[in-house]
Symmetry: C2
Subunit: 228 residues, 2 copies
Amino acid sequence: MTASASSRTPLSPTPRSTPTRLKDRARTDRADLDAVLDAGLVCHLGVLLGGTPVVLPTAYGRDGDTLYVHGSTGARSLRAAIAHDISVTVTLVDGVVYARSAMHFSMNYRCAVVLGRAVEVTDRDERLHGLRVVVEHAAPGAWSRVRSPNKKELAATTVLALDLTEASVKVRTGGPNDDAGDIETGGVWAGVLPLRQVWGAPIGSEDLATGIAVPDDVLRRLETILIR
Amino acid sequence: MTASASSRTPLSPTPRSTPTRLKDRARTDRADLDAVLDAGLVCHLGVLLGGTPVVLPTAYGRDGDTLYVHGSTGARSLRAAIAHDISVTVTLVDGVVYARSAMHFSMNYRCAVVLGRAVEVTDRDERLHGLRVVVEHAAPGAWSRVRSPNKKELAATTVLALDLTEASVKVRTGGPNDDAGDIETGGVWAGVLPLRQVWGAPIGSEDLATGIAVPDDVLRRLETILIR
């Protein structure tokens, strides 16, 4: 994803995007937002459907200060998002925090919450760009070696853009915040059970002709570790 | 989690919880819902905050037909959820689907979306039960060996219950659904890059006294694989 000058500027959260609790976990650097968004694989989109805030997972991508999502023109959730205030949340769970008391159990995580008005992208070039950003986020390096979207596919696809100006990032790391009394009493194990996401070996499609090698972009990805 | 008789009954989705697209991915068996909810670690809660559907990750647990979440009484998102229609979404990403054309890239995933009115649990016994369900979901087997919530902690904690009657489950598995023409043209690799979640080695807290062994419930968990 494109590194922009804004990566070094602080986030400008509004009251509704400012964490009111556990402030010690809030990060205010724009680079933290980009890092979480770039590390996630799916986001959770919050849209109003019939008055209910409905949460749906979807692919996404980031380019500079813009987050893109896409979907079928028939997708009710995307139609409901257009020109409305929505939220997009990306969460990475890094581990379970085991404490000495039940109420201090927790998770280590990185979470970005972006709020804003979803704008439907209508310009043909920007639509293609947004789709490329989303596909490249899911599968880095794949776009240029596969067939591009055709007219029919483009007509059936909605691309939404969300500005990254109103966002918050929370990160929790480390062990439990146990009460002094529980630490003193002792005897109970406390710590973190880390959670890792790793890639498995690529599985060729059943309809794949023989002799087609796994592409370099997939092989390169196998060398990366998603979480930790 | 408790297996209930309802595990064998079909889901009873309403129009707002019925997937309108990609119906082939919808699952209608109640056991599928339980399986996704029991496999996830965090959920994404959708609540209305100032008119915007805001999505926040949180811990949860399931007991039979009830999903519990908890949080600080000071948490704005939980206060906004009480006695309101909310959604709780649990998503597990199982892999990235590489296709022969950009628009057929996809993800393999399991996703449960639960809609309903969040009810604040006020009965002391059920509050304790709900907290136990949430903690045991995050850390199975840990509740009984750690200090229970005290009066002060209970007073500072909100427990919400959500009925599981209105829910939908979607599951995508397998390779890409490429166009016949792209398969015929050939030459492009297609398949799945599986994604796995695995536990790392437990990390004892910095303030842990020497000689305290990693508990059996944590060791047992290391033998489980979260995804795949």
